[in-house]
Structures are given as structure tokens and as C-alpha cells.
């Protein structure tokens, strides 16, 4: 089964860019990605740029409306994701717990819908 692991955190939480802790965290992320690849569960995964770069688009009555930033004011923002192929939810939970951001943010796990 495929699971999307969405990585949420407040942008001012956790190690900040430019610090040693941040570099250490990048290393941990690399190690985690390698582990999922070696385990054969990795399908995809990326980090996202800051929430200030976000653009929201919606179409109402044929009119395209574009706004700067995310629509809802939320403290925690989506900062990245992994798409993994796991045997069951327990395996997905075990991987989610190893994502470095889990230590101060949170990981939302969603199964990819199966249309078979």
C-alpha cells in the first residue's frame, strides 16, 4: 500500500537554517531517505520551500482567483513529504516516527486511495 507521509511543523520550530543543528538534521534526513531506498519502500519525497513562497489558486464560476500564500492561517505548515510503499499502517507509522521533524513537528499519514 502506498502512504503519503506529510511533514508538518511551525516554521520557527526546530533547528533553523545556518546553524550546526540544521546541518545535522539535513544529514539525518539524508540517512532516512537512504534507508527507505535501501528497504525498497521509497517512491518519492521532497522538501518544500517556505510557506511565504506559496500561491493559492481557485476557480469560481470560471474565474481564476489567485492569492498570495496559503488560504487558511495555520501555525504549522507542510514542509515536505515522503511517498512510501509499505506493507501496512504499522510499517508506515514506524517510518514516520523516524522522520527527524517528528521530534518537534508532526507527521500526517494518509493512504493513497486505491481505485482497483
Amino acid at each position: 500500500m502506498q502512504y503519503l507521509l506529510m511533514i508538518y511543523s511551525a516554521e520557527d520550530a526546530g533547528p533553523q537554517p545556518g546553524t550546526d543543528e540544521f546541518m545535522q538534521m539535513i544529514g539525518e534526513y539524508q540517512k532516512f531517505t537512504e534507508q527507505t531506498q535501501n528497504d525498497g519502500v521509497f517512491i518519492g519525497g521532497e522538501a518544500l520551500d517556505s510557506i511565504t513562497t506559496a500561491t493559492t489558486v481557485k476557480v469560481r464560476n470560471g474565474n481564476q482567483e489567485i492569492t498570495d500564500g496559503p488560504f487558511a492561517e495555520t501555525k504549522e505548515a507542510l514542509g515536505g513529504y515522503y511517498l512510501l510503499d509499505c506493507s501496512d499502517l504499522d510499517q508506515a507509522i514506524a517510518y514516520a516516527a523516524k522522520i527527524p521533524t517528528a521530534a518537534y513537528g508532526r507527521i500526517e499519514i494518509r493512504p493513497v486511495m486505491n481505485f482497483d
Binding site: 506493507s87 499502517l89 504499522d90 508506515a92 493512504p111 482497483d116
Partner: protein, 412 residues
């Protein structure tokens, strides 16, 4: 055998084996809703066919095969519209031979089903409802009644939980060793909640809903059989057995309930006390102390006392202090305060009660009962009266209300 007695026999067979059969079906078809539907179909079929053609030699096997074949049939029909499912091919290859026998071996997969129902990805209230509905085989209406909800609401909650299990891939297995202690502890919490639902029945005129205490024992005993030597599970069995041993003495009066203090201790069930002590000894022997064992120990101290005045309150106080380390909750603090009061320290007890943040306890009946009790020991009848009145306003059980009324009358 008359048709009616056969029907009764059928009902009791279904009652006893429902969870067993359902778990075995879920294990193989990996879909709780489908397993329930086909098992229900098989039961209806049995009600129609058995009275006419006689009960088969192996009724459980008959039900299992009938349900299973129906599931395969349904899955195969669905296949016409969908990709060839690997699942079904595996089934067809591995099952065709064995299914012809009259007496098939049905594995006991209830443990897996119990863990699936208590998976942390499901909310607590769904876990209790699910376990009662699947493993215990209670109907949606019965579960709804226990939760004071309307059957359609409960039906929706159950369906949502069952679909989440299927679509989010909650596994049907026994958790990995590193997760087991936490997962088992959650299962035990759910079982104890079911027991308390029965023991402290606040909803009806009956003091205790025996069905729920029975279901809790059934679950705990099944678990103990399938997963022996778990200290906290044995602790839970000891705790429930101690409680249960006092059932008769507690419900002696048909208008109210009899408190521990006033119970006729000769009515305590000696057999249950003995089995409680046996469970407790087994638990302690495993040297893995936990909160359920401590609570069993507290209940055990009461069982040893010949009468109320004989109770070893200093021992009970020590045990509550120990319990507080595992469960730093307001409920434990309240009990600790009352124990201190009875062991001769009403002033200290009163201080402990005042130290608890009242904000969380505004609607918590036991808090006011505890305050009233301690106030009585401090000879502060006015406060006791006020606290009993507050408790009275919160009580929803007729017998409990009568008890509180009696206490108020005693103060007048």
C-alpha cells in the same frame, strides 16, 4: 428436539462462537464488514436449514465454510469488474482442497482481532464500540445503548472505524515486540472500561449491567488463554475478580447500593476471592509491576479485612501513593486523600483535596462524595451537606441518588 429448543441452542452457539468465527473470517478475507455480512448470512441460513434438515455434525465448521464460500463468491463476482485480485487467487489455490472436509480446522484469531480493534490509529470510543461489536458479538443497538447514543449514530461510528481499518491498512496481527507493551496496555484499558461500564452502571435502575462485566471477563480470559504470563493482564483479572466477589453484597438492598463499609462480608463470593488471589500471585510472580496490579492489591487488602474497622488503611495509603507514580491523575489523588482520612489523618486529607485543581472536577461526582466524606470526619457537617447536595445534582443513577439522599438525611 423441538424447533424452539433447537433455536435456543443455535442462539447460544452463535453467541459463544461469533467472535471466534468472525476473527477467523477477517483473518482470511481481510475485511471486517464483508466478514460480518457473510457470517450473518450463514447464521440466517442455519436458522432456516437446520430445523428442517438437522444440525450438522460440525456446526461451527458448517457456519465457517458457508460464510467463507459466500465471501469468495462475492469477491469473485466483484472481480468481473476489476483487476484479477491476487488475494482471491491465493485463496482459491490454498483453500479448495481443505474446504471439502466436514470438519475444518478454524484457527483462533481473536487475539489479532482484539489488537486490530484497539489500534491507536482509532479513537478510544471507537475502540470500545468495535471490540464489543466484533469480538463480543453485541449488536449495534446493544452497543449504542451502552454509550447512550442513538443506534444510527453508533452504526455510523462503527462503519467509519471498520472502513478506516480496511482503507488505511491497519494490520490484522499481533504487534511487534517493541510495540507490544504499549499496545497490550491499551487493550487492557479498553477491557477495564467495559467492565466499569457494567460495574458502575449509571444509566439504569439496575445497579450493575451484568452483560458488560461478563463481556470484560470473557475478553480478559480469552486474552489470558492466548497470551499467558502477562503481569498486568493477570492484575486486571485479579482486580475484576475482587470487584465481582462483592457483587451480591453490594446489591443486597434493592433500593440503593451497599457501600463497602456496610456490606455483609459473609456474602462475599469466596470462590471469586480465591481466584482473584490466584491471579494476583501469578501476576506478582512475574515481577513486572504496573498500575492494574497495584489496584488489585488495594482491592485485595479490603478482601482480607474481616470488617470495615479491620481495614489496613496505612497499607492502602501506601499502595495509592505507589499508584500515583504510575497514574498521576485526579482520581488517584482523590482516593489517596480518602485513604489518608480513614487512616486517621482527616486534616491532611482535606488539604490534599483542596490542592487538586477544582477546575477539572466541577462535574466529577466522586470528588464531591470524597469531600463530603472527609468533611464528615472533620465534623464539618455544613460542608458535608453542601458537597452531598452537589453530588446529588450530578448523579444519573437512581440507586446512587438514593444513597446520597440517605447520607444527607443522616446529617440532618
Amino acid at each position: 428436539m423441538s424447533k424452539k429448543s433447537l433455536r435456543n441452542k443455535l442462539d447460544s452457539l452463535f453467541r459463544n462462537d461469533y467472535g471466534y468465527l468472525l476473527a477467523a473470517l477477517v483473518k482470511r478475507i481481510k475485511d471486517i464488514e464483508l466478514a460480518e455480512d457473510v457470517l450473518q448470512d450463514a447464521i440466517v441460513k442455519a436458522h432456516l436449514i437446520w430445523p428442517e434438515q438437522g444440525t450438522p455434525q460440525y456446526p461451527k465448521s458448517w457456519l465457517y465454510k458457508t460464510a467463507y464460500n459466500k465471501a469468495i463468491d462475492l469477491l469473485r463476482r466483484e472481480q468481473n469488474f476489476k483487476h484479477k485480485s491476487e488475494l482471491i487467487n491465493q485463496h482459491l489455490i490454498s483453500e479448495m482442497g481443505s474446504e471439502k472436509a466436514d470438519n475444518v480446522v478454524i484457527n483462533d484469531d481473536r487475539l489479532q482481532l482484539i489488537f486490530t480493534c484497539c489500534h491507536p490509529a482509532l479513537r478510544d470510543s471507537s475502540q470500545i464500540a468495535l471490540i464489543l461489536n466484533t469480538v463480543c458479538g453485541l449488536t449495534t443497538e446493544q452497543v449504542a445503548e451502552a454509550f447512550l447514543t442513538k443506534p444510527p449514530t453508533m452504526a455510523q461510528r462503527l462503519v467509519r472505524a471498520k472502513r478506516k481499518i480496511k482503507s488505511s491498512g491497519i494490520p490484522f496481527n499481533i504487534p511487534a515486540a517493541e510495540d507490544l507493551p504499549k499496545r497490550l496496555s491499551q487493550v487492557l484499558t479498553v477491557i477495564y472500561l467495559i467492565y466499569n461500564q457494567g460495574y458502575y452502571n449509571h444509566q439504569t435502575a439496575d445497579l450493575m449491567d451484568l452483560n458488560f462485566t461478563e463481556e470484560a471477563f470473557y475478553l480478559a480470559k480469552t486474552l489470558n488463554q492466548l497470551m499467558p504470563k502477562q503481569a498486568e493482564l493477570l492484575g486486571l483479572l485479579a482486580l475484576m475478580s475482587f470487584h465481582q466477589s462483592r457483587f451480591k453484597a453490594r446489591s443486597q438492598c434493592d433500593k440503593t447500593f451497599v457501600t463497602l463499609k456496610n456490606q455483609d462480608r459473609s456474602l462475599w463470593d469466596k470462590g471469586l476471592i480465591k481466584s482473584a488471589n490466584d491471579y494476583f500471585q501469578q501476576a506478582i510472580g512475574l515481577k513486572a509491576l504496573g498500575p492494574l496490579q497495584i489496584q488489585a492489591a488495594i482491592s485485595g487488602v479490603h478482601s482480607q479485612a474481616a470488617n470495615w474497622d479491620d481495614t489496613d488503611w496505612s497499607q492502602i495509603t501506601l499502595l495509592y501513593e505507589k499508584l500515583l507514580v504510575y497514574q498521576p491523575t485526579d482520581t488517584v489523588k482523590i482516593n489517596l486523600a480518602v485513604a489518608k482520612c480513614y487512616s486517621g489523618n482527616p486534616e491532611l486529607a482535606w488539604q490534599l483535596l483542596l490542592d487538586i485543581k477544582k477546575k477539572n472536577l466541577e462535574h466529577y461526582l466522586p470528588y464531591y462524595l470524597a469531600q463530603a466524606e472527609v468533611a464528615k470526619h472533620r465534623s464539618d457537617d455544613n460542608t458535608a451537606f453542601n458537597c452531598f447536595s452537589l453530588a446529588m445534582a450530578l448523579s444519573k443513577n437512581v440507586r446512587e441518588q438514593r444513597y446520597i439522599k440517605e447520607q444527607i438525611d443522616l446529617l440532618m
